[in-house]
């Protein structure tokens, strides 16, 4: 496997997506779990329709942040050390491996966001404002979470904590994404410009992507 970088990225992403198609973890576990969480929240805080409409978007993004991590983590935890060694011996560029795993996570996270989003709109009666900006926000958040989740899963790989530590590492680091997403929606609702929030999220995505690509080799070699 000494082909070009993007060919390796495609191969890794394809492998991960194929594995997901066979196991169906995101489809059969993570999405229903996220939808269930959205269903449980009103039972705890009250079922007033006005209140739920008010908090619906924020609640949706919290669910995306907390449960979205599971998508990236689940994939990484299935890659054993011998598999990583084999990939390395075959000449897989560690950066290509990172980008490939992120790409497959991105696709799965987008699927998760759309499925859970449909449930949130149904249960909380959320207004869909500024569809173009909303789609852009969904993509940037999914990309940021995919990059962060894949990077932190690589960090905890080969340690005794396994993937249990990943949510503790990802949740606080994904706060700029959560802030950006929720504030962007509020901006759309009240007619404010949301460019600065999208730029904040894009900056986070850029920084994490750079760190992920630059540290892929040291992480693999150690």
């Amino acid at each position: 496997m000494t082909s070009g970088f993007w060919h390796q990225v495609r191969a890794v992403a394809h492998r991960d997506l194929l594995r997901e198609r066979r196991r169906g973890d995101v489809l059969w576990v993570t999405i229903p779990f996220g939808a269930l969480a959205l269903l449980l929240v009103p039972l705890a805080i009250g079922t007033d329709a006005k209140l739920l409409r008010e908090i619906g978007a924020g609640m949706y993004w919290v669910i995306v942040m907390l449960f979205g991590v599971l998508v990236a983590v689940g994939k990484a935890s299935r890659e054993t050390q011998p598999q990583q060694d084999a990939s390395s011996l075959l000449g897989l560029d560690p950066a290509a491996g990172y980008v490939g795993r992120t790409a497959s996570s991105l696709i799965l996270l987008l699927a998760f966001e759309l499925a859970v989003g449909a449930v949130a709109v149904g249960l909380y009666d959320i207004d869909l404002l500024g569809v173009g900006w909303l789609v852009l926000t969904l993509v940037v958040v999914a990309l940021g979470l995919a990059l962060l989740g894949t990077l932190t899963a690589s960090i905890v790989n080969s340690t005794s904590a396994g993937t249990a530590l990943v949510p503790l590492l990802v949740a606080p680091l994904s706060v700029p994404l959560l802030l950006g997403a929720t504030q962007a929606y509020d901006g759309l609702r009240y007619g404010h410009t949301i460019v600065s929030w999208v730029l904040l999220m894009a900056a986070v995505v850029l920084v994490v992507a750079m760190i992920g690509v630059l540290t892929a080799r040291p992480l693999q070699e150690s």
Binding site: L151, T159, A161, L165, L169, P172, L173, P176, T215, P218
Partner: protein
């Protein structure tokens, strides 16, 4: 293998001296017209917050240096600084909550500075938790270094949060473009002395913690080395044909 056992005592002296000077000045400085005696918390709160920034920035620098050089001394620097940074971030939050309870009426408010500081605290708690997950020094160092770089993104967010968002927390008191906000000279001297004293405490704690980390690593190396007695070494193999 010989263990390096040189233990420095001057850091303890420096810590004690700095604490005495900072506390004495904070007690003799005048009371504030608006906040009253509560202003004295500021002489601990601001230096503690300053140290949190410094400590996590040093963790960032140590992490970058480790990734570039692979020398474990940089990892020790980053780890020691993160531990001290977590302590001082916790202290900042607790002191802020005590001040907030008396001034705002509630210990916690969902203010950008407070919330982001708490989040930074959890980021570095995660860093310390990660370090405890493996005994392999090189594996631990490389994993922690990446997180040390990633976590540093929080530092400017926390500092500039009071500028970027309209919050309850007041803007920076000293590091501001139009000069310090504190007008009373003795108050200013007390605050600056507090910052210097806390920085001395940080440096002293760093020396002691790095020393300790170095000794821990040496101990771990001895335990792994072949020089130590192996299990069963005391058992003498009986010679065939000879009954005791």
């Amino acid at each position: 293998m010989k263990v390096q056992t040189r233990v420095r005592t001057w850091p303890w002296v420096a810590i004690a001296f700095s604490l005495v000077v900072a506390l004495a000045l904070s007690l003799v400085s005048p009371r504030d017209d608006v906040q009253g005696e509560l202003v004295r918390i500021m002489y601990l709160h601001v230096p503690a917050a300053w140290l949190a920034y410094v400590a996590f920035f040093i963790t960032f620098l140590g992490s970058v240096a480790y990734l570039l050089t692979k020398h474990l001394r940089w990892d020790r620097l980053a780890a020691a600084s993160a531990e001290i940074g977590v302590f001082f971030t916790g202290l900042t939050l607790v002191l802020g909550m005590i001040w907030g309870k008396s001034t705002w009426g509630i210990p916690w408010t969902w203010d950008a500075r407070l919330t982001l500081t708490a989040i930074m605290f959890f980021v570095y708690l995660g860093y310390l938790a990660l370090r405890r997950t493996t005994d392999d020094q090189v594996l631990r160092a490389s994993r922690a270094a990446v997180l040390g770089v990633l976590g540093a993104v929080q530092i400017p967010l926390v500092h500039f949060s009071v500028v970027w968002w309209r919050t309850l927390h007041q803007p920076p008191s000293i590091l501001r473009p139009d000069g310090p906000a504190i007008q009373d000279p003795l108050m200013m001297v007390t605050l600056v002395t507090g910052v210097v004293a806390f920085t001395v405490i940080y440096a002293s704690l760093m020396v002691k913690r790095i020393e300790l980390l170095h000794l821990e690593e040496q101990l771990a190396e001895i335990e792994r080395s072949t020089e130590r007695p192996v299990a069963g070494e005391a058992v003498v193999v009986p010679e065939l044909g000879r009954n005791p």
